[in-house]
């Protein structure tokens, strides 16, 4: 029973993660300007990756799940830094809009 629940949860997380990444790709192509595109890539690099990694619960393998957990922790810590670095570079380059 538990195995079925984990399989379903893992499958749902995988589908949600891939869906988020696909929508993010559409967003990167459609959104105007570097900053707006960063929002779209943040969807893939944050929640998208976390969902795909969390889907590892379906494997029921302790080693795989623990590596995925480490991956999630490092994604949470590094994804904002990467976005910030790109945004800061864009601002220094002189990209768009005055602050409000």
């Amino acid at each position: 029973m538990m195995s079925v629940v984990l399989d379903v949860a893992g499958g749902v997380l995988l589908v949600v993660g891939l869906l988020l990444m696909t929508i993010a790709l559409v967003g990167v192509l459609r959104m105007p300007g570097t900053y707006s595109q960063l929002h779209a890539q943040g969807l893939a690099a944050g929640p998208g990756v976390i969902c795909v990694l969390a889907s590892s619960i379906a494997t029921e393998n302790a080693a795989t799940i623990s590596y995925a957990a480490i991956g999630i922790v490092f994604t949470v810590l590094t994804s904002p830094v990467a976005s910030h670095a790109i945004a800061r570079a864009a601002r220094r380059r002189g990209d768009e809009t005055d602050p409000r």
């Binding site: 900053y35 960063l38 969807l43 080693a63 623990s66 602050p99 409000r100």
Partner: protein, 160 residues
Amino acid sequence: MIGIMLRMIALTGLYLLVVSSVKVGDVAIGLVLAALVVAAGRRHRAASSSAGSTLRRLAGVPALIGGTLVDVVTGSAEVIRCCLRRPPDPGLVRLPTGPTSPSSFATWGIRLGITPNTVVVDVDEEHGELLVHVLDARDPDGVRAEQAAAYRSRQRRTFP
């Protein structure tokens, strides 16, 4: 003392996750490595906090993690809407954080950065200000009020 023990437990846990093992030998090695890292880190730390304040800060961790998760879900929904249509009025907003500690500033940055509907563009620690890009900047005062409320309810207790 509680802070030191918690740091050692967290670091040992991270080590055990990396080696994917809970054998006694691995736990012992993890504890030794954690003790070395904590001891090395203490040399660079400023005045330590009291046990009471550590417990008070720990009590705020569930609100910080839970609140940030809620922000990530609602922020993702907003970004999905904007990806499939056009963003209403994207723009930069100055977000005053007030005079805070470096760890509080870093938490502000990670909390806003992991939420897809906000991107931290610049950080001004001297004036206590973040420059943030949002997808709907029609009401900058509303954005500032919303973020100040999120800080009060999620972060202030743990990273004031």
